[in-house]
């Protein structure tokens, strides 16, 4: 009988060893990593590079908060401040949030979860990483050579006619990264349709897979519209074709339609995989199947579909017609429903579950609370009447940081911690990681909750200076940011530490269901020695019990 306050079940540490052959040591040498087709190695490549870009984006965030400590624009020139927040947004969105869970956890886990040996297109997978790196390095280069100051939204006609900054190169970097995203999504869709193991029907798939499937649809169908928007901006800047230029008869708002047609589904690309992680974590740490599996699965797809219908709610004050405002506002109310369904289902999963509070679960709880707040404030913003007052203020900034950082980033950390033993064969140190989770939660709330109030009071976003009466809340926010920074730095340190000194995890330290937990940690390159047959439901803890009894009985 394991102790009630943890479900962790590790092998005897005095005799346990990392499996002799696994995907990490199967081949050695730099080229075996740089030319790999193994989805697990590509996932690790992504993990390292994404972490790198996250800290660059984080450093930029630190600069923003430092500037906003005082009401005057005294730390840097206002033009520089514009560049700092633009690059912060571009790096965080395109080079961290969009690829974070799909490219690391999705790449690693989807073949394992469906019982396949790899993704359908391993070479495309590797290409996807190289495109990501090319785009990322180009983005850093543009930063170093002067950056871009249009905001991550590249709004025309500012970006096409009024700035002299590196719009073209940044646009190119985002264009390239977009293809990385498209190829990842394409790969996932083909794999999930065509490579499931025998018996693995759609409704036996882990909800993590459903979430990635829905996000992949968005990646494939939405990202190309961003690509054409960037191409048109490039043509406008270089040749001056006039498609967004009012003096030539163009409409700047057309750019926004094309841009947001992608960028709204993009936020669902960012959050859906995180929601997939949360489904897995909440189920495991409540020892209960996810309540309303079908509802959660279908709501993922519903979010993806409805997410295509609401983009102009980012444009309520930009000059769209009032009738369009009405329609898009109404549709935005609809899209909130499937997200809420998930929160309810996770809550009902917790009800009468056997809950323990390991680190992934702490992050999951943080997700549920913070995403709910962020999501609800999204509804306030979707109502066009209130949006007119709240848009372009810090309310928006708070809203999207609550869903993206309080939601998505927490889900990412939950997932990294949850599957760390599977990816590396080692456990992370539990106490310090729980501390980091709590520190992150506190730091996050201190950073971003004041921003809701600032927004309501009228502080505009993207301004380096502000009226002095807003200073106290800004100081709180900056203080919170420094705590948040500590909370994010700690995992890097202890996770790296755990690679050498962490406890040996064994196959299934969490006693979780799911095919990935029935094989060794770290897995073999070919994942499964014997093709698995899926003969039980998802989240079937009784099946797990029977497996354990069989093991115990056979060892004797």
């Amino acid at each position: 009988m394991s102790p009630v306050n943890t479900i962790v079940s590790l092998p005897d540490q005095s005799t346990a060893r990392i499996p002799r052959v696994n995907y990490l040591n199967k081949e050695n040498g730099l080229l075996s990593w740089l030319l790999t087709g193994d989805h697990k190695r590509i996932a690790i490549l992504y993990l390292i590079s994404i972490t790198f870009f996250f800290f660059i984006g984080g450093a930029l965030a630190g600069l923003i908060r430092l500037e906003l400590l005082t009401p005057q624009a005294d730390l840097m020139a206002t033009d520089t401040y514009n560049k700092v927040f633009s690059m912060h947004g571009i790096i965080m969105i395109f080079f961290f949030l969009v690829p974070s869970v799909p490219a690391t956890l999705g790449n690693f886990l989807i073949p394992l979860m469906i019982g396949a040996k790899d993704l359908a297109l391993p070479k495309i997978n590797l290409l996807s990483w190289y495109l990501y790196m090319a785009g990322g390095i180009l983005a850093i280069y543009t930063m170093a050579t002067g950056g871009v100051d249009t905001g991550w939204t590249f709004t025309t006609p500012l970006s096409t006619h009024y700035v002299n900054t590196n719009v073209l190169t940044t646009g190119l970097a985002v264009f390239i990264a977009g293809f990385s995203s498209i190829f990842t999504g394409l790969n996932f869709i083909v794999t999930i349709h065509k490579m499931r193991a025998p018996g693995m029907t759609w409704f036996k798939l882990p909800l993590f897979v459903w979430a990635h499937y829905a996000a992949s649809i968005l990646m494939v169908l939405g990202t190309p519209v961003l690509a054409i928007a960037i191409v048109l901006v490039a043509l406008e800047r270089t040749i001056g074709i006039g498609v967004f230029d009012p003096t030539k008869g163009g409409d700047p708002l057309l750019f926004q339609h094309l841009f947001w047609f992608y960028s709204h589904p993009a936020v669902y690309i960012m959050i859906l995989p995180g929601m997939g992680v949360i489904s897995e974590v909440i189920s495991t740490f409540s020892r209960k199947r996810v309540f309303g599996y079908t509802a959660v699965a279908f709501s993922s797809v519903a979010i993806a579909v409805f997410g295509f219908f609401v983009w102009a709610h980012h444009m309520f004050i930009m000059g769209v017609s009032n009738y369009a405002v009405l329609v898009f506002s109404l549709l935005t109310m609809l899209v909130a429903v499937p997200s809420a369904i998930k929160i309810f289902n996770w809550t009902f999963t917790l009800y009468k579950g056997s809950i323990t509070f390991e680190t992934p679960m702490l992050y999951a709880f943080g997700f549920m609370g913070l995403f709910t707040i962020g999501g609800m404030t999204g509804v306030f913003l979707g109502t066009s009447g209130t949006d007119i007052h709240l848009t372009e203020t810090y309310f928006i900034v708070a809203h999207f940081h609550f869903v993206m950082v309080g939601g998505m980033l927490m889900a990412f950390l939950a997932g990294i911690h949850f599957w760390w033993p599977k990816m590396t064969g080692r456990m992370y140190p539990e106490k310090i990681s729980q501390l980091a989770a709590v520190v992150t939660f506190i730091g996050f709330n201190l950073t971003f909750f004041p921003q809701f109030i600032l927004g309501m009071l009228g502080m505009p976003r993207r301004y380096a200076s502000y009226p002095p009466e807003f200073q106290i809340l800004n100081v709180f926010s900056t203080a919170g940011a420094s705590i948040l920074g500590v909370g994010y730095l700690l995992p890097v340190l202890y996770l790296v530490w755990s690679l050498k000194y962490g406890e040996i995890a064994g196959n299934n330290p969490w006693q979780a269901t799911g095919l990935e937990w029935q094989i060794q940690s770290p897995p073999l390159t070919e994942n499964f020695v014997v093709m698995p047959i899926m003969d039980h439901e998802a989240y079937d803890y009784e099946w797990l019990e029977r497996q354990k009894e069989k093991e115990v009985a056979s060892v004797g």
Partner: protein
């Protein structure tokens, strides 16, 4: 899937089973591999649909706003050349489909012939496009490149405008013809870029087809390229009436 059941049900995989050389190890059968890559190509084409979709959206909006300018701009295009291009591309789609049939029925020389014909027809399309573009340069109808409103302010001075019976446009509407040509170049240019890439791949495929790579049962590459080529044809099927045939009466 019949092939997978041989490996399923707990049997250890033999150290290296007999399989065609082109079967990748993460697939259980050649059918699964062909199926997966076919589906992947379709998904890629979906991204292309959405990519061009943005351009079509821009076109529809500005055509609504500046209809007279679009009519005048469209009259500057040559229907014989555009129609000929349409015929070339449609025929090349036919030859490509025939090429896939040859690959499926293992007709190596037939496949090579079809690919060469498709290649030539594609080059013909690009050649005519070059002629059309050159004409636009000469008449100063390239946006931002010494763009001239003369043909639209004084249609009698312009051969095509005279032939279409155009009336002079007011100055502000005449200026909007630049929007028309922007979209003309953006859309046909993007289309031509896709043609160039397709023709380059065709060139590669002709060499491989001569070596018999696609007529030994492994037709996936030809099949999937065929999908791409047909898609490029479909884009042109829409571009032709939308750009060339705006009100010729």
């Amino acid at each position: 899937m019949s092939d997978s059941s041989a490996i399923a049900h707990g049997e250890q995989e033999a150290p290296h089973e007999e399989h065609p050389s082109y079967l990748r190890h993460h697939f259980e059968s050649t059918e699964q591999q062909a199926d997966a890559s076919n589906f992947a190509m379709w998904l890629f084409l979906l991204t292309e649909v959405m990519f061009f979709g943005g351009l079509f959206t821009a076109y529809l909006i500005y055509r609504n706003w500046y209809y007279p300018a679009f009519v005048a701009g469209s009259h500057q295009l040559s229907i014989p050349l555009g129609g000929l291009n349409t015929l070339l591309l449609i025929t090349s789609s036919f030859t490509m489909a025939m090429g896939v049939w040859c690959a499926e029925t293992r007709r190596r020389s037939g496949l090579v012939l079809c690919l060469i014909l498709t290649f030539i027809l594609g080059l013909g399309f690009l050649g005519i496009k070059t002629i059309e573009y050159t004409e636009k340069f000469e008449k100063h109808h390239v946006p931002s490149w010494h763009y001239s409103l003369n043909s639209f302010l004084n249609p009698d001075s312009d051969k095509e405008a005279r032939a279409a019976g155009d009336q002079p446009l007011p100055l502000d509407m005449a200026r909007k013809t630049e929007v028309y040509f922007s979209l003309y170049f953006a859309m046909t240019g993007m289309h031509a870029l896709h043609m160039i890439i397709g023709i380059a791949i065709l060139g590669f495929m002709i060499f491989r087809a001569r070596a018999g790579a696609y007529t030994a049962g492994h037709v996936t590459f030809v099949e999937n390229f065929g999908l791409y080529w047909h898609f490029v044809d479909i884009i042109w099927i829409f571009l032709f009436p939308l750009l060339y045939l705006i009100s010729r009466h």
